[in-house]
Amino acid sequence: MASTCLLFLRGSGSVCLALGLCIPNIVRSQPASDTDLGNKSLEQLMNIEITSVLRKEEKLSRTPAAVYVITQKDIQRSGATTIPDLLRMAPGVQVAQVDANRWAISVRGFNDIYSNKLLVLIDGRTVYTPGFSGVFWDQIDVPLDTIERIEVVRGPGGSVWGANAVNGVINIITKSAADTQGERVTVGAGSEQTADDEFLYGGKAGRHGYYRVFGHYISFGDLPTQQGVNGGDGWRLGHEGMRADWNLSPSDSVTVEAGAFESWQGQTVLMASPGGIPAHVGDFGGDFMASWNHRLANGSETTLQVYNNTYSRTDTGMREAENTVDVDFQDHLNRESRQDIVWGVGYRSTYDSLTNSAGAAMAGISNNALGYAIYFQPPQRTFNLFSVFIQDEISLAKSLSLTVGSKFEHNAFTGFEGEPSARLAWLLDNSQTLWIAASRAVRQPSRVDSDVDVNFGPMPLGNGSNIGAQLLGNPNLQSETMDDYEAGYRIILGKRLSADLTAFYSFYHNLEGNSLMSPYLSAQAEAPLFVIPLVFENRIGAEDYGAEAALNWNISGRWKLRGTYSWLKMNFHPYASAQSNAAALATLSGMLGGSMGLGSFSDLLVSISNFNQSATANGGAAPENQAGLRSYFDLTRTISFDNSIYYVGALPLQYVPSYTRLDSRLSWKARKSVEASVVGQNLLSPHHLEFGNVDQVMGTEVTRAVFGKVIWSF
């Protein structure tokens, strides 16, 4: 079979199933000493680690893309309790905790809580929010012990995955129900995270099937602001879910997953008063996914997947209800020839309802207190996405293969889009791979870009008249596009060392920004009201370049090191044709008679002009340098001591200094059925800031914390 991995073959992940062992354990097999093994006892044999290179592991090391795999072992040994914290492990990924319940996560820059160029999937199910094409990480709960692995692809994946797989794809792949049989009870508590409780039961579903059901509850306390005040940002989430897998026949398998969650997140909204006012986010939702996979002995494979995501969220003055239905079909033809073709078709329909007033009241704040009101025109909308993709992997020579393909989509905002890519892999020998790639990816506008209408103010001007601002979506926006060039090198050195290096240069076109338009006098207000409109426009270009490295060193059977380093530079340049907001502001000031108390309002305008575009406005909001080093150490057969240290460079435009965080974990497997662990998080400093305030919600600092957990398995 060809080198099919996440990037090149969609589906619920069965093809990539064994890839979890890939990168972290790339060590050559050693056929010698087989006879010695006969002298070893069963107990001794059970302690030997398998370090062979499976065929599928080799496949990953030969994949012509920047892929990093976070395995279940990495998850256990990191001591992390949330998916965002797990993602700190991968090179090229920016993870910043904004407050107790919000994260800004992106790949290769453009970081924001509304990062909108990254695609996130759970078992092939897209979990980004159609409203702004980003991810609400506080709605994404997967009990960490049910994750088989997380595949993180840096760079564009649009040729297979479509719009929004611009600068990265994160695929969270859960374990088969067959691998979570029995009962498992987890109880965890700590100083910042006050609960992490889980009950899981796995059983048989008929002669050829397995299932699991689980309940998960997490709760986090409030974090302090930079001024040391309680940020009121505690968070609670409950989630029930199931997964079942059946082997209907030797060549057919069916997977069904379903879940429901409810969550409550505290926050402090800044706009209305300097100290902010307490508010909260409330959300609930559910998901359902079913997939059928038909696999032939020659490696050909057909997959049909349907899923439905639905949720309702009340957040800073708005109530959002979303419902997505998606059907995907994919066919992999393996004709044992020099060409290996994968093609697929997909359809997605999203319905949303975005209303302001009722939702704001539910969140405990009225529009007046908030200082702005958000409307969508129209408030309800259904939009469809049709897509086809085809990809061909051609063996040019024994050690040279070319993968070409493209996705073609029709979306409701910009119509047809094409996302071609070409990747060349050259296997220098059994242990070295060199690859290059050129790709185009697009980010189509989302609902907020097209249809939003935010009214700020009014504020008195001092002469009996008022001033307000209006931020308007633009239905005529074009897609943001990115042309990307990448090169990578992987090497397996000896038995215990492997390295993965990547360099990239990306050109972004038509990035969105907000343009100030000419003010007008509102006809509806009682007192004279000047309204300054701002409109989203494709007005910025950018270059983004950098390099990433990952190193795995298994020093001995009991000590393993994992290192990563990322370097990133971003340059932004507004198009010459785009109106200068500073110039427009000056004109405006003149029009209104400069002396009339516009000072604070112009500050507000600057802040408004960053609305929904803060990643671009903040120079990408990504540190230039990031590094991580993780150490997994087995003190004895039952006790392990693990450490993760991360350095994250400064975000100067957000006034976030650089920081280094250390997490240490000590775990003891007391019996076959009981494991206890204690984790110290952020041990190096009492508290640190990772991101600035976003969209008028107060950011808080991450504190030093301790967390303990006991797991019983029956």
Binding site: G38, S176, A499
Partner: protein, 184 residues
Amino acid sequence: MDYRLFGRSVLGIRLLCVAMPLIGMMASAQTVSEPALKAAFLYNFAKFVEWPPEIFAGASDSMVLCTYENNAVGDALKEIVKGRTINGRRLAVLEIRNIAASKACQMLFVGAAAGRNEDSILTAIGNGSILVVGETRGFAQRGGAINFVLQDDRLRFVINLGATDRARLKLSSKLLSLAILTSN
């Protein structure tokens, strides 16, 4: 295209060159390939399982360990059994291609490559006194006696007590204590 692309790419390549010498050091220690480890387990299983005496015609008959659709394990097993005996019986390793040949085997290892044939193999063997060992997920649940599973990169095994009972095999308590037990 922006001319700067070329300049920056060169910089990127230079970075790679700087990073490479860092990866000079190497450590070495014994590593074991998965087929070799599986073969060693198989040899150990044979030591801790008692077959009904009537299946051996004579006291000097060899014990026959068979592999199907996994030559790597078969080859490793041949190396291990060289010069070794179990309860005075010499050990023979047979790579079978036709399942009918399994009648001669005391143990049969079914490789993952058997794929869709697994179920028909298990049906063909029925209640015969053959210790059937598999390596695909759920093999023991489908009626196999022993199933290799990978946990934390280490090899573990599931024993299906229903299958070993039906095959009239006696398993030592030591073997059972190390196994993950199921009964199907």
